[in-house]
């Protein structure tokens, strides 16, 4: 296997009881690549993301990260391996401020021998937060504000800024702009472009055709729990992608799955 491959999945499958939410998904992405995942509601996009990020345990299949086979027991494992995820439901605690949220679950601490009562390094976390925000070009009036006092765009930026703060090896964004206004969407897209310039690999789950065509190199289409197309951006257009999403078209190599 080439060292150039960031993420590879083989026959990745997830069943929820009798519901086959994801069936034998074979996926591969290279370093520096930005890949979009598209598909209708319930097509298996978010399920796919949840299996990679360890939020759920897959029914079967294999996942390799940078050539190494991985079995994440939970989201923290995935994070430690370098997968940083911006979830569709913003994984932010409303009553905490920006540094608290950025470092939630992996706080900088003193006196680690105290176990759960180890002491928080507030200063260090604030410093790293500022650095991370600057790197992504995110601007937030006051990082000591609790999240509930922020606009949707600011919240999303905080969620994305996590990525920059922790030098991730793979960033996954699940519908990052679904709930945002035009200006805020532009801001998030700028951050994504910044990541592209820095060569950070990214998986973008999105419904927004313009955004996808604008930002990514490659588009993977999911339909009814299966991958039905793998399209290079240069070789396709919006209508073509829609045809794959709705089931009007299926790529020959995925023919068998298009039942």
């Amino acid at each position: 296997m080439s060292d150039n491959v960031v993420l590879r999945t083989q026959a990745l499958t997830k069943h929820y009881g009798g519901v086959h939410a994801l069936q034998s998904a074979n996926f591969e992405m290279k370093k520096g690549e930005h890949v979009a995942i598209m598909g209708d509601n319930g097509a298996g996009k978010s399920t796919f993301v949840r299996q990679i990020t360890g939020v759920e345990q897959r029914t079967s299949g294999n996942v390799w990260l940078y050539g190494e086979e991985v079995n994440f027991a939970g989201p923290l494992d995935a994070r430690e391996a370098g997968i940083e995820t911006v979830f569709q439901t913003l994984a932010l605690a409303d009553d905490l401020d920006v540094p608290d949220n950025l470092f939630l679950g992996r706080e900088k601490t003193f006196a680690d021998w105290l176990g759960p009562f180890r002491i928080l390094d507030y200063k260090g976390m604030r410093k790293a937060t500022m650095a991370g925000l600057e790197k992504t070009g995110v601007k937030i009036p006051n990082i000591r504000n609790t999240i509930q006092n922020m606009s949707g765009g600011q919240r999303q930026c905080v969620a994305i800024a996590r990525t920059a703060t922790f030098h991730s090896r793979l960033t996954i964004m699940d519908e990052p702009t679904a709930a945002l206004g035009v200006q805020e969407t532009g801001q998030v897209e700028n951050i994504i472009r910044t990541l592209k310039e820095q060569g950070e690999p990214l998986i973008l789950v999105s419904h927004n055709m313009r955004q996808v065509m604008d930002l990514v190199d490659r588009i993977i289409v999911f339909r009814r729990g299966r991958i039905c197309a793998n399209l290079k951006k240069e070789e396709t257009d919006g209508q073509d992608v829609v045809a794959y999403i709705t089931g009007a078209k299926t790529q020959p190599e995925y023919e068998e799955s298009a039942t």
């Binding site: 939020v55 913003l90 605690a93 939630l104 009562f117 606009s151």
Partner: protein
Amino acid sequence: MADTSHGTGGLTFDTTKRSWPNEMNILLALIIIIVIFEILGQILPYMNDQSFLFDTRGRFDTIFNEARLKIIILQVSIIGIIALGVSQVIITAGIDLSSGPLVAATAMIAMSFGQTELVNGNPNPKALFGVWAMDLPVLVPIIVGLTFGAMIGAINGTFIAYFRIPPFIATLGMFLILRGIALWWSGGRPVSFPTESYKFIGSGMMPVVWFLSLAAIFHLILRYTVYGKHTYAIGSNEEAARMSGINVRRHKVLVYMVASMLAAFAGVVLSAKASTAQAGMGEFYELFAIAMAVIGGISLTGGRGSIIGTVLGAMVLGVIRSGFTFVKLDGSYQLMAMGGIIIAAVILDQYRQRNRA
């Protein structure tokens, strides 16, 4: 490329920009209540111009009525210790109804290891165990009590976090179980005549010392440790906490253990103060502890509030109790007033939440 700045903000860290802390509102309410009693003391015809807060008869060196202040805080100290724990539970968006009976059960169990062998030269008439359990070092009953509390908390937490039983139901069940244990332990008879060192735990102002030092410790823990941060995070957004890699279940068990250990310690202090342990002790303590937390601004939806708030909430209850006695209104009115204040506190909390930006 578009300018990515948000409004006029820019990236700043401004310590002066921190919002008006909620605790100030409770302090304000406390002061207002004290002023009301002070005024009532002046205007009610049968009060003969007595002062609620100040020493008008020259009985003390300070300008305040020291005796009253001491009683106010002493009265709420033991329930206050419970409130410190239940506050943490409520911050995780849970509830603990089992603390009152846990006080009774722990009092019984702990004191049976803290009895003295001879009472006025005669064998202890209330002895529960043989001579081996008499005149043990005071650390033994304390450790037994705390261990029992930790065990009950672990059971509560396990049912709530791992078996997904709603906290209300799990701790309600534990409420009855613990009352049963308290009765069963000595067959309903009181356990009495503790050693001198056991008595010392609850003597004089010791309950206040325990309450305030535990409050200080848990204030620091909630504010400056990972335990505290995760407690708030779970109450604020449990799903986010889970996705952030916090072991939510284990943390909840830990929080319920801490809460139950505090309630168990309150049981030790109460039995030491009373020099006896009875199965009926601690009645309604769980409710008053929850009331202190709620008045102190701990939101029942989780994620918000502080130990300082709970201490102030305890003071509010203490002042009301003392104030009603001061203006010579009996307990029935006290209960009605306290009930009203609890409801008012929750309404205020919801109002504040709605008015957030």
